[in-house]
């Protein structure tokens, strides 16, 4: 950067030569301000989504840059929400990118006093083994002379924040396992 550029970049110089002698506006604009661009405009893509909190179903636009969610805001196209979000919906970015998110599988042994980390695939294997064993233990072909062909050994709770497709697979798998104790927030 030459001296001339430096001088011309000096706000005092701009004060003396430009339209802002008091140095309160154009003359003092910083380099950062000059190049400011909102991350909602520089995102690589905008993905259409739906708010995950309550059941109003507000539209969301998810802004992605370098494979990271950088902003979530209301979708103005939505006939339901017209681009608006409540405080919970407004906190979606923090929900999905915040420090409260866990990214490691954790395991607590019976009688253990703390978590231990576990490989995801191992965990899935262990869970599958337990499902099979518990299902057998609680199996019933009949109750009071009526055919029931079910297991009372395992149960599930949850689903009201899950996708329809997820619930569908869950209900399908549970029913095929003969497990009937499957419930969600709609009961609560």
């Amino acid at each position: 950067m030459g001296v001339k550029t430096w001088i011309e970049g000096w706000p005092v110089y701009r004060q003396l030569t430009g339209g802002d002698p008091l140095g309160r506006a154009a003359a003092v604009k910083s380099r950062r301000s000059d190049t400011l661009a909102p991350r909602s405009a520089t995102a690589d893509k905008v993905v259409k989504s739906i708010c995950p909190f309550c059941a109003v179903g507000c539209g969301q636009n998810v802004f992605v840059k370098a494979d990271e969610v950088v902003q979530v805001e209301g979708d103005p196209d939505s006939p339901i929400s017209r681009g608006r979000l409540c405080p919970r919906g407004s906190s979606t970015l923090q929900l999905v990118t915040g420090s409260a998110r866990e990214y490691k599988v954790l395991h607590r042994r019976p009688h253990g006093t703390d978590w231990e980390e576990l490989d995801l695939d191992t965990a899935m294997d262990m869970i599958a083994d337990r499902v099979i064993a518990t299902r057998r233990e609680g199996w019933q072909w009949e109750e009071d002379d009526a055919r029931v062909r079910r297991t009372m050994g395992l149960a599930s709770l949850g689903g009201a924040t899950m996708d329809n497709e997820e619930n569908y697979l869950l209900k399908k798998l549970f029913t095929a396992l003969g497990a009937i104790q499957i419930e969600n927030q709609a009961r609560i």
Binding site: G18, G19, R24, S30, P38, Q71, C86, G89, S90
Partner: protein, 326 residues
């Protein structure tokens, strides 16, 4: 009025020149600038959901501002500051809202004395904790989202010694975080108690009216999210017209408490870029009833400073004159 007319010690009214006219962007040397943009916050449709607070924090990545239960109705934010750029005030009053039927009926309990128990507010000073004196069958719950006023004559901007605080081409007032040196002068200069210092970095922070978003034609995060359109964003001229019509309609409909705050370009700060429709006196919401930009008096101050300097010189001369004899 001449655009620049700075002569220290001159008698005539310097206010206009010192403070700029009502097109502050033009005054600031921007040519072909966009219209002045602002907020009209209509508190009569605010539901106090605080979406504005969260949306603002998300967009501007503002740190958490303390986990404190206050007992101030549903307000645990307390006020604007470096880490709170939108603040929703909650006011519970024994007053009617037009002919709204609040359904409540209270008896015989000195609520103000109760308020003194633990709220830290002396009874005679309790704004409304839990409520103001009045008819025990009356209740209204006022909510209002406060924000930087983006004054036409902005004291924070005037006193900033670095040019960090500056007037943008949209007529808004913005802190440039790469320039701010943490001198803190803007903080006591603001007549509304808006701008404040972030403790861990020493710099001053406040609402930017989402300057970055404005540059590409997006509206500020708070206004965009506001579920009931209490926060309205747009060219200030339009907002003022809309607000006048709204006020007239409310007044006609019997909401006689409605008033505009900061809408008048001739008030002590030359009108606010972010102005409000309130349902009670400004101080009820924690707003100053008649704020003045301190730099309005700066010419007089400089004159007094000059005079005092001369007095000091005179004192010194006299001291040496007298000192010969002493």
């Amino acid at each position: 009025m001449a655009p620049v007319d700075i002569v220290i010690g001159r008698k005539p009214d310097l206010t206009g020149a010192m403070l700029g006219d009502t097109d502050p962007a033009h005054q600031g040397g921007y040519v072909d600038h966009p219209p002045r943009m602002g907020f009209f916050t209509d508190t009569s449709v605010c539901i106090g959901c605080k979406a504005c607070e969260v949306a603002c924090k998300e967009w501007n990545a503002i740190p958490e501002d303390g986990l404190v239960f206050t007992g101030m109705s549903m307000d645990n934010t307390q006020g604007l500051g470096a880490d709170t750029w939108r603040h929703v005030a909650f006011v519970e009053q024994r007053k009617p809202l037009a002919v709204q039927d609040p359904g409540v009926l209270h008896d015989g309990v000195d609520v103000l004395a109760l308020a003194a128990q633990g709220s830290g507010t002396p009874p005679d000073r309790a704004g409304m904790t839990p409520t103001t004196p009045g008819d025990p069958g009356d209740l209204r719950w006022l909510m209002a989202s406060d924000v930087c006023k983006h004054c036409t004559h902005a004291a924070c901007l005037d006193v900033c010694p670095t040019g960090s605080l500056f007037r943008t081409e949209f007529g808004t007032v913005v802190v440039q975080e790469d320039i701010c040196n943490g001198c803190g002068y803007c903080i006591p200069a603001c007549p509304y108690g808006v701008i404040d210092q972030r403790k861990d970095d020493g710099r001053a922070w406040k609402c930017t009216l989402c300057y970055d978003r404005l540059t590409v034609g997006q509206e500020p995060a708070c206004a965009k999210n506001c579920p009931t359109n209490s926060i309205q964003f747009g060219p200030l001229d339009e907002l003022r017209e809309r607000a006048d019509a709204r006020l007239a309609r409310l007044q006609e409909a019997g909401v006689s408490d409605a008033r505009l705050y900061g809408r008048d370009p001739h008030d002590g700060v030359g009108g606010d870029g972010a102005f409000f429709l309130l349902l009670d006196e400004p101080e009820v919401y924690g707003l100053p009833p008649d704020p003045v930009v301190t730099t309005r008096d700066l010419p007089a101050m400089w004159r007094r400073v000059g005079a005092a300097a001369l007095v000091l010189v005179g004192t010194a001369v006299a001291a040496f004159a007298a000192g010969r004899r002493v």
